[in-house]
Symmetry: C2
Subunit: 308 residues, 2 copies
């Protein structure tokens, strides 16, 4: 039996080493040079090429290399019998909380303006957006969203949250699916942490941006597919939105010709809000692999029907 | 009796309005067009011109417009009989905590690198400095320093602190004056929150920078006089220090010709870490003014001998 690592644009050797440090008995193969396809029962996948998984007759489980599984869910070439798991570690939530916190504070304190002023030797103060009057609104209050919400609270921000079913979270004003408008009208800084599903695709559109409390900001750390790109540009150009910070894009790496690069009101980071490091995730992968082999319940299994 | 507002490079009308909202009976004058000098008993000063206070025969108290009083302490033209108070509000500590937090997170997550990459349409990831392995070291663990330390702890950083007399602070490894080397050798990110006194002037020198744990960073939110500028440049050029973030300078505004502006490894912000807003401070000023008139103990009085 073996465990297969499949990824494009990412070096997989460190993951192999880390998994074998976690359990030296696990046989690990790295795509594309696979010695024995029939032995593969478990795969770890990130940005995998289409049609790759049909070639492994005994493959039973694919693990995402992170909290999101939409790259697996959206690939219709993956046989329906194959089960999906995610690999969400405490470090992912901590990194995400750091990223959202620094982004929210940078927006309020105009960090980017000062960095650009320095390039022109300009000493000029700007009013900060007063924290007491600003509310961060988190879309997606699952495990990750709740951790991010708590961190923002610790940093003195007003926080509200929106999720399919209404959550209870100390200090956070929460809203259910049907209360979207109330949630948006309370929110200055919209933070998208949703999973990407058929229902949430394109959810960040002009209609939603128009309902935000002014001054309004957008932070997308969900997936590129959540955002309607032309609506964002329109909202920024018409002053409906002050700024947007984007860590995820429809096409990654973001093509050099993409108009977002040159926009003064858009901040781009190269999908670094939360990165899975080999040693942090190896134990979980090894655990799920052994659970599969011994017929135990898998950790962090994804419901392929529900899509999350 | 009247209260005088004295400042250069800052509009004082909003402070007059705010003080009179706090107490409509207070007579407020704004330098330089003062109607009756003999009536002035209390002054509020920020970047005041030298020799200005000798002209008010009945002046008894000068309040700083912020937490620092060194601009008063260093002015030898101020008669020795005049008492000093500071005007430190909860908002100043909260703003400072925000600034130090966002700066520490930005350094670890390389925010500035990504902003500059975007200007060249470059999509490239960099390893973040791992938070678990990084320790923030705060110089100056007074009221303000303790609040900042707590906030960094809430954001998951390792924190240690150094102060004249050893402090006890939950979760923070503290060091006393004589333990400076131990403190520095534990610290990656040195955060200067000291008052500027004769003993602390020029404290941020090459000797100190050399003792920091690598990778090393400097955040100066104390006063420009704490830093030996040429030592900073040398430490950055020789790779002893990775980056420095400076909010305070010997001369403010920082002259356009200053070599710091163009340095890739120095981030400059225009003394905005913590700004006193009129309405947040007006109540405290009015209170101290009335305490003076009624002979009560002043709030936040500065010991002119000790210098803080």
């Amino acid at each position: 039996m073996s465990l297969l690592l499949v990824a494009q644009h990412r070096e997989m050797e460190p993951f192999k080493s880390a998994i074998q440090r976690a359990d030296p008995n696990i046989e690990v193969e790295i795509w594309p040079s696979v010695k024995n396809r029939a032995r593969v029962q478990f795969a770890l996948a990130w940005h995998h090429p289409k049609n790759v998984f049909g070639q492994y007759p005994n493959l039973k489980v694919i693990s995402s290399l992170g909290a999101g599984a939409n790259h697996l869910l959206q690939d219709e070439t993956i046989p329906h019998s194959i089960r999906f798991v995610r690999a969400s570690t405490p470090s992912l939530a901590s990194q995400m909380s750091d990223y959202v916190t620094l982004t929210a504070l940078n927006l309020m304190r105009r960090t980017e303006t000062y960095i650009k002023q320095q390039q022109k030797s300009i000493w000029k103060r700007h009013e900060a957006y007063p924290k007491k009057e600003m509310t961060a609104g988190i879309m997606g209050l699952g495990k990750l969203g709740s951790i991010v919400a708590r961190r923002l609270l610790h940093n003195g921000l007003n926080v509200c949250g929106w999720s399919k079913s209404k959550k209870k979270l100390n200090g956070v004003e929460t809203f259910s699916e049907s209360e979207l408008h109330a949630f948006l009208s309370r929110t200055n800084m919209l933070i998208c942490l949703l999973p990407l599903t058929k229902e949430t695709e394109g959810i960040l559109d002009l209609k939603i941006m128009k309902q935000l409390k002014k001054p309004s900001f957008l932070i997308n750390v969900g997936r590129g597919g959540h955002l309607v790109e032309e609506d964002l540009v329109y909202a920024l150009d018409t002053g409906r939105l002050e700024r947007a910070v984007l860590d995820v894009f429809n096409t990654e790496p973001l093509p050099e010709s993409h108009p977002f690069w040159g926009r003064e009101k858009i901040t781009i980071t190269p999908h670094i809000a939360s990165i899975t490091h080999p040693d942090e995730v190896a134990g979980l992968i090894a655990e799920n692999y052994k659970r599969l082999l011994s017929g135990m319940e898998l950790l962090q299994e994804v419901d392929r029907q529900k899509g999350y």
